[in-house]
């Protein structure tokens, strides 16, 4: 029988049927200091050992500050406890921790690929909703709650019902200057933030195959905004080349056997899905969000939509509220909206290629006076590599702050934030009310759009800065 990529991984991991769910083997558990500390502590209090500690990893990304010279002290009140308790619990449990001063530290969904921890065919879970990012490697990776994290740690399994499946095929190619972020926002704008509800989404088609590894991570990252259970892309040579030589990737004989197995991880011809969507890559143009849901996404050369344009999915009340919250009026050209701040970072868009593309636009230019601009590399490794090729100098010369790695102002949990009613163009993934600070107005965009907007002081189509490559 023809199977999808998802079916293959599911069948390889299903241990037993339990009630109306399945008991599924979990290969890797990743934790961070915000939710991981609770799970580890509670397991310890219950006297439960971790079944496979060598398969468990933790990092510090959510609550740590990103200022140079940071320590365990945090701007977020009570933040320090999360850091120190995670450290103590990780040591005690014998799991691998990428601590604050570790070269491997960074945002979990950036460092897991960097270290070769996520591999094709694995199941990987983390108490974090953007775990779907890692499905870009042909793994089944998804976000769970803290109690499920305890279950995964104690038993190396989870009890779940098999999610439905969906394939999104993007034929043709994305136009030059159009990125994976634009594709993710396009799908949200067109099919709504509930478009993938509960499904495991496989992204396929020539436009997806053409994406490099980091762009695939960006695309899969926003599957959770699409309400999907997770996302995945069949692994290919780009993935294998990326993984080769990474610290936790297979070596020697194992490597050859692994690649042979990984090549079988793709949907068979004739595999069926509960839902299929097919689009043409040429439809996608640079996108930005105007409102307070990721589905409020539209082309940058467009206008703030009126209610008629979104009534199939937003109630009048939700629409009015979004318009009022964002301080905008229907019909206004998006490119006429002035910004207060620009943010490049997060598990969506903070990898080396993201920083390179933004730097190509910033090089030799300066951000508009009065715009607060910040770049937070996704990992310490990204930061070092970027510095080795001089990207930090480009960002700094252009007027950007250059930070230590972490989630930073992707989300607000009582620490650093943007100001009330400040308009921020941001390479992150959520534009909910107060996501980046109390009453902050977030516009989601690609890193190059963030860079272009920082330069002009208005939301700006990055294509206006032409196709520039950052010369190393």
């Amino acid at each position: 029988m023809s199977k999808s990529l998802f079916d293959k991984i599911w069948d390889n991991h299903r241990i037993a049927d339990v009630g109306d769910a399945s008991l599924v083997l979990i290969d890797r558990v990743f934790l961070h200091e915000r939710t991981g500390s609770v799970a580890l502590k509670s397991l310890k209090e219950a006297g439960r050992p971790i079944m496979a500690p060598s398969h468990v990893f933790a990092t510090m990304d959510h609550i740590v500050d990103t200022f140079p010279g940071r320590t365990d002290k945090t701007i977020m009140p009570t933040g320090t406890a999360f850091i120190t308790e995670t450290r103590d619990a990780a040591l005690d449990a014998g799991i691998t921790l990428f601590d604050l001063n570790d070269d491997r530290q960074g945002i979990i969904h950036v460092i897991s690929p960097e270290q070769g921890i996520v591999l094709p065919g694995l199941t990987l879970v983390c108490p974090d909703s953007h775990t779907c990012t890692q499905g870009a490697f042909g793994a089944l990776a998804w976000g769970i709650g803290s109690t499920d994290a305890e279950h995964a740690l104690a038993t190396s399994t989870l009890r779940i019902k098999k999610p439905k499946s969906m394939r999104i095929t993007v034929n043709g190619h994305l136009a030059p200057g159009v990125t994976a972020k634009d594709l993710a926002l396009y799908l949200l704008g067109r099919y709504s933030a509930a478009g993938g509800r509960g499904h495991v989404v496989e992204y396929a088609g020539t436009a997806v195959e053409a994406l490099d590894v980091e762009a695939r991570l960006t695309l899969c990252n926003m599957a959770t905004e699409f309400a999907a259970f997770s996302a995945m892309i069949a692994p290919d040579d780009k993935i294998f080349d990326y993984l080769k030589g990474r610290p936790y990737a297979p070596k020697g004989q194992d490597w050859d056997a692994a690649v042979a197995y990984w090549r079988s991880l793709k949907s068979d011809d004739g595999a069926t899905f509960d839902r299929e969507i097919v689009i043409d890559g040429a439809e996608v143009t640079p996108m930005v969000t105007w409102g307070t849901s990721p589905q409020h996404a539209t082309a940058i050369d467009g206008v703030v939509p009126d209610y008629q344009a979104v009534q199939d999915r937003d109630s009048q009340e939700a629409y009015d509220r979004a318009i009022a919250y964002m301080g905008i009026t229907p019909g206004t050209a998006l490119e006429s909206l002035p910004i207060d701040a620009a943010f490049i970072g997060s598990c969506t868009n903070s990898r080396l290629s993201d920083l390179r593309r933004a730097a190509a636009i910033l090089k030799g230019r300066h951000v508009k006076a009065g715009v607060k601009a910040i770049c937070v590399p996704g990992s310490t490794t990204v930061k070092r590599l970027a510095e080795a090729e001089g990207l930090d100098q480009v960002f700094r010369a252009a007027g950007f702050e250059w930070r230590e790695s972490g989630c930073s102002m992707c989300f607000f949990a009582g620490g650093e934030s943007f100001g009330r009613q400040e308009r921020v163009v941001t390479s992150t993934n959520r534009n909910f009310e107060s996501r980046q600070g109390p009453e902050t107005r977030s516009h989601l965009a690609s890193p190059e759009m963030v860079a272009a907007s920082a330069l002009t002081g208005f939301l700006t189509d990055p294509r206006k800065f032409g196709p520039r490559k950052f010369a190393v």
Binding site: I15, A16, V18, G19, L23, L25, D27, S37, V38, K41, S42, E45, R48, M51, A52, S54, H55, T78, A81, F82, E85, L119, G121, L122, G145, S146, T147, E150, H151, A154, T155, S156, T157, R159, Y248, A249, P250, D254, W255, A257, A258, Y261
Partner: protein, 206 residues
């Protein structure tokens, strides 16, 4: 966890529709890196006179004897709706609640109850109203009996009401197991799958 078999206890009426998890425990009460220490924040918005304060609001039922000793809640429709925060159930369990009767529950809350040893009993709204009436004459003496093995609720007036519960949920509550305990009953099977996996794909085992 404490097994749930037959419970005889005081029941507190909180018959309002849509008691959400934010009412059960406001987010401002969830400051710690822990599942414990939450019971003081239970129903904080209703239970105390001021936000963040600890002066009891005498009008709230839980502050009135003998309801301060309740182990059962008589609730309204869609009990436990809103954010999926499990803290709500942790707070209820830590305070000492063992069962909630309501016409309907929010699904995630209901599942969280079972994994934390609280029995969610679905009974029609008019039955719950009748039970509340029966108890209120003398809440101290007129205690409610919930028999999980028989799946019945017995009111002091002698009325017996049956209820439904899934087989696995019942097993977990009866034996005082959480999902981890239940899964660890299959430990040998899990280990066998891991050993076989290690032979087939050794690189996946670190």
């Amino acid at each position: 966890m404490q097994p749930f078999t037959v419970l005889t206890a005081i029941a507190m009426p909180l018959i309002r529709a849509n008691v959400d998890t934010d009412a059960i425990i406001p987010s401002r009460e969830m400051k710690k890196v822990s599942k414990t220490g939450l019971s003081d924040g239970l129903f904080a918005g209703w239970r105390y006179q001021e936000v963040g304060g600890r002066d009891p609001n005498p009008d709230f039922v839980m502050n009135r004897a003998p309801y301060d000793k309740s182990e059962i809640i008589l609730g309204g429709v869609n009990f436990g709706c809103g954010s999926s925060r499990e803290h709500a159930v942790w707070a209820l369990a830590e305070y000492g609640f063992r069962a909630i009767l309501a016409p309907s529950f929010a699904p995630i809350f209901q599942a969280n109850c079972i994994t934390n040893g609280i029995l969610p009993v679905e009974l029609a709204a008019d039955i719950i109203a009748r039970i509340a009436q029966d108890l209120e004459q003398d809440p101290q003496q007129r205690q409610l009996v919930i028999d999980l093995p028989q799946q019945t609720v017995t009111s002091p007036d002698g009325s017996i009401y049956g209820f439904e519960i899934g087989g696995e949920a019942k097993e977990m509550l009866l034996e005082g197991l959480d999902p981890i305990d239940l899964t660890l009953k299959l430990r040998d099977r899990i280990q066998a799958v891991r050993v076989a996996g290690q032979n087939r794909r050794p690189w996946e085992y670190l």
